[in-house]
Amino acid sequence: MSYAATYRLGTRLFWRDRAMLFASVITPVGLSVGLPTLMRHVTADGVTAATQLSQGTTSILLSITAFMNVAVALTARRDQLVLKRLRATGLTDGQILTGQIASTATQTMILIAVCTVAVRLLADVPFPANPLVFAGAVVAGSVVLATLGVAYTAVIPRTELAAAATMPVFLLAAIATGVMGPIRDVLPAWVGSTLDLLPTSAVVHAIRTGEVALPALNLAVWAVVGVVAIRLWFRWEPRRS
């Protein structure tokens, strides 16, 4: 009952914050639909390039809609002492955070699904060859990125810095999956290999290749990192100083 309540709350607040919707819905959806559509119509081998790019843009939705959104929202709620008020109810800490993570992950999955249909219609990008692996990767990736976003609030000192603090994660995720064009190709090889360790890279790799084992292992490790970091460092109230 209470998990459902915090899930509903997270969802309601997600769609209610207009300013945030621009950052966490319009921008990533615009990029994820716009870039492949552009690629389809300006390059010779349009469909192949658009497909490659579209698969890569999943990392944008994961790093913005799941990771950034939850990190910014929870930092604001922490600093406004709303999390403290939620803890004054009969809810457990686990119910508060799990409901939020599930809600953020669901919105991310919905947007990825919408973008998948949109690029099919606008850029002739075929539906995923292996729908099961695609679905599994998107679900697991959304949950893991939302969990990591919750953990990441521990290093954000205050609300105004939250969006800026999540930017590097978005940039790295996008470069790693080739969304930023050929930047990745001019970087040293070891940087590329390191970027492949990101959870967003694992999701895109699974979508592109249909491979399961390595991406699953990668996401499992990141999930553990996220949960352990939350247990150790998550702050429910702003620092008193």
């Binding site: 209470s2 309540a5 915090t6 509903r8 709350l9 309601r12 607040l13 209610r16 914050d17 709620r77 406004q80 002492l81 709303v82 403290k84 008020r85 939620l86 803890r87 004054a88 109810t89 009969g90 809810l91 457990t92 008193r240």
Partner: protein, 295 residues
């Protein structure tokens, strides 16, 4: 039955000892006031009782449960009005209460909670548009939602207008009448004196006075004050007084009797005791004595 039992409770933040080994008990259905200056340790005490913080030493029990260990269980049976906590600014008052009802087992109906807090006319207003006092009332509505057995009220009427404050007092009395145990902190000593049956005064993390409100005040001396008539000195008076500027102050267990003695002394000499003021001990006298002398 004892609803809240605190024994030798201690809490420090770094080098700063916020609560230094306090003990008190609150009986079932009693209204208990915890008083003290800013920084005396009142809010820390409430946060320990509500399980927001772990004590460094000593024990506290709420309804027989350890709030640090059984936080969720304690919270299901307690309501808290925090001194400082945020709301979701974009939700309306009604939506906020509905959201909190979702978190609460067997909650009061929304309108009943809003009615109790005197907020029904503001149901459709967004939280960001509420005044400070109205936000306190919303806080109260949320604290009452789960029909708690124990209610913690940290500065409940701060920022409220006089009418809202009286309304809140009525609600608090009514709840206590129904058996709810209430622990409140307040800066308004008249509020504590009107509401609470027992109290403790905290200063610098320690309890410097505690007991039943009526007995404690009855044991204190009252006060007769007047301007010293021209041409007289304190030594001429029939009772010992101290001078506070122009004003002579006589402290006495029975201030009415002292006033009569002084008035007949003045009448015999054809003198007037201008600005005469007679009052029994108030919580404010006690508070100023206690939290001042302790330093």
């Amino acid at each position: 039955m004892t609803a809240i039992r605190v024994e030798d409770l201690r809490k420090s933040y770094g080098d700063f000892a916020a609560v230094k080994g306090i003990s008190f008990e609150v009986a079932d259905g009693e209204i208990f006031a915890l008083l003290g200056r800013n920084g005396a340790g009142k809010t820390t005490t409430i946060e320990l009782l509500a399980g927001f913080q772990q004590p460094d030493g000593g024990t506290c029990r709420v309804l027989g449960l350890d709030p640090a260990r059984d936080r969720a269980a304690v919270r299901r049976r307690t309501g808290i009005m925090l001194q400082e906590a945020g709301f979701f600014q974009d939700l309306t008052v009604a939506q906020t209460v509905d959201t909190w009802r979702d978190f609460t087992a067997a909650p009061r109906p929304r309108d009943e909670a809003l009615e109790l807090a005197g907020l029904l006319p503001k149901a459709a207003t967004r939280v960001r548009q509420l005044s400070g006092g109205e936000k306190r009332r919303l806080d109260l509505a949320l604290a009452l939602l789960g029909r708690p057995d124990v209610l913690f009220l940290d500065e409940p009427t701060t920022g409220m207008d006089p009418e809202a404050r009286r309304n809140t007092w009525d609600v608090v009395r009514e709840l206590a009448g129904q058996g709810t145990t209430i622990l409140l902190t307040t800066h308004y000593l008249d509020e504590a004196q009107r509401l609470a049956a027992s109290m403790a005064i905290m200063d610098a993390g320690e309890i410097v006075a505690s007991g039943g409100m009526a007995e404690t005040l009855a044991a204190r001396s009252g006060r007769v004050a007047f301007r010293l008539p021209p041409g007289t000195s304190p030594a001429d008076l029939p009772l010992p007084v101290t001078l506070e500027g122009e004003t002579a102050v006589c402290r006495a267990a029975d201030p009415d009797l002292a006033a009569q003695t002084l008035l007949s002394w003045a009448a015999e000499r054809g003198l007037r005791l201008a600005g005469l003021e007679v009052r029994t001990a108030t919580l404010e006298d006690l508070f100023l004595d206690m939290s001042g002398s302790h330093r």
